[in-house]
Symmetry: C2
Subunit: 326 residues, 2 copies
DNA sequence: CTGAAAGCGCTTACAG
DNA sequence: CTGAAAGCGCTTACAG
């Protein structure tokens, strides 16, 4: 340890750099060490430190799909919350798949300070080796005793059903995601429930990956059948799916919203500028990341979380894809 | 080391788990160790391993702005390339700012196997402590002898100028980014060059953060002046900026493209469904990540990179924001 | 208040 | 082919 050249022992240096000087190091030595650290540009080696402490200062964020733009805001929120003290490690897999238990084992061998798990499937959680501090994000409907931050998607889905009913829609189709993620199950079930209340029938139900192209294709194939059944609105489980439908509707010269109403979930920034603007259930991505990061920080500080299941409000944003612009 | 219970020494186990058995461990012992590893579910501790080896298996991706959806595709590309062998650590700062030297020091203390630096400023690179294997991404115009993967933005910017000239535009405005990132300088200069060739004058030049709202506001304030100068097209340095202009144009009841043409750079997925579709310079984000990841992998394998400055083609995608849809 | 020593879990010359 | 030993850079009881 180079900074021992300040004329003190490595132990003293370690105490100072860790801020554990309270009544253990003389003011004089603290100053000496700080000076030496500054001069040498010394920075504590993360590896050695972590090994000695038994855990690293890395927070791992496990997520099914970073390439979803929605997720970028979640990441930003997490970063805001955890700040400088921890490094954010992103564990991502392709196309909405959850990491395998083997992946997680490898991750865990880095001895993360904590885990943030976004949109986990029930199976993933069941297979997860008990892993120290952990906060779940967007895990509505998943049984777990880990603290979690969720969207109240049911609320938004209900408002969406109300909205469509008030516009007179009687028969709609639903485009779901193929991932086994619980949040999509909750979105679907909550919407079905709301639809039933209003006597709206859901004629059909297809699922694709979270990808505009896949969704557009699925819609193109299904539309003739749906039209025959009298479908007047397509409810998509994400905005990305909805963009695909909008695109295909334009190709097919279908008037939106006159001939077909389209809705999404997420409220990505682009839903404001899409053609037409997309009516969607707004989910506060940034707040999700921020709240989960804060929860984890508390957990790491040894606090117990007062409200284990934090709920973030969802709201319906009405735009041109369901109502004609004024 | 628990698996030593296979009846051999820790050294032998280490040899086996690292695949360095060639002519050094008997087949019998290899089998014994593998069996024990499987039974105990043992996985090499990343911390201890890294400390002994002197470097970790973490690849750090330093980027100015993850919340740019463009970047999600870059990340996906990097992941595809580096695969299972390395963990991807994301170092991000807010709103297009580059990490400080102190941030980087902290990162480096994790002893990353390699560094991937996206869209660095010249200053950032100058301050970067010499840091082992490193690949630059989207660093056009930055002097460095590190291998790099860049977009040929000049090509696309030239095509954009050609396109606007062919449509008869004589006076345009340019919306730039406030970040000191070199790529934006290159985009701007290449477009200015192309404009000059065609006798197009760039009447004005404003800069905002990469944010729809900021861009919309800047446009709203500047438009009266620009209109007075005869501006008929706004060229934006990112699609995100362009979305802001599109939104504000709609608010102001400006017909796009009749009264005002709008263009971007990036070709985000949403540029297909925006209102109208956005004419933009397509930059292959996924390929950027993939190519950079592959370069780094070679570097880590001790190979020398044959082509230090890999160039990825950019192309112009023409949509409804510059030409009336057929 | 301070320093010598043990130990975190692994890897790698080294001697056999 | 194999194992005992040193060492990676730090932290933390422990004895003074």
């Amino acid at each position: 340890m180079v900074a021992a050249r300040a004329g003190v022992s490595t132990a003293t240096v370690s105490l100072v750099t860790n801020g554990k000087t309270a009544g253990r190091v003389s003011a004089e030595n603290i100053a000496k060490v700080q000076e030496a650290v500054a001069e040498l540009g010394y920075v504590v080696d993360g590896l050695g430190s972590s090994l000695a402490k038994g855990r690293s200062n890395i927070v791992i964020l496990v997520a099914p799909d970073v390439s979803n733009p929605f997720f970028a805001n979640v990441i930003a929120g997490v970063r805001e919350a955890i700040g400088e003290a921890y490094q954010l490690l992103l564990s991502v897999t392709d196309a909405g798949l959850t990491p395998s238990p083997a992946d997680v084992r490898n991750l865990l061998s880095l001895r993360p300070a904590g885990l943030l798990v976004d949109a986990p499937s029930a199976q993933f959680l069941a297979e997860l080796p008990s892993a120290g501090p952990m906060v779940l994000m967007d895990a509505a409907g998943v049984a777990s005793d880990a603290p979690s931050v969720n969207f109240d998607v049911a609320q938004g889905a209900g408002m969406l059903a109300d909205h469509l009913a008030s516009l007179g829609h009687r028969t709609v189709a639903y485009i779901d995601s193929v991932t086994g993620t619980e949040t999509f199950r909750v979105r679907r079930e909550a919407f079905y429930r709301g639809a039933r209340v209003h006597g709206i029938s859901v004629a059909a139900d297809v699922a694709t990956t979270i990808d505009m192209g896949a969704s557009a294709l699925a819609f193109a194939q299904a539309w003739p059948g749906w039209a025959a059944q009298g479908v007047t609105a397509v409810v998509c489980c994400t905005d990305t799916h909805a963009y695909g439908v909008l695109q295909e509707a334009r190709v097919a010269r279908l008037g939106v919203p006159q001939q077909l109403a389209v809705t999404g979930f997420d409220d990505l920034p682009f839903s404001q500028t899409s053609n037409p603007g997309l009516t969607t259930v707004h989910l506060p991505a940034n707040e999700l990341g921020r709240a989960a990061g804060q929860q984890l920080l508390r957990l790491l500080a040894g606090e117990t979380i007062p409200v284990p299941g934090l709920m973030l409000e969802s709201t319906l944003v009405v735009r041109g894809s369901t109502v004609t612009a004024s």
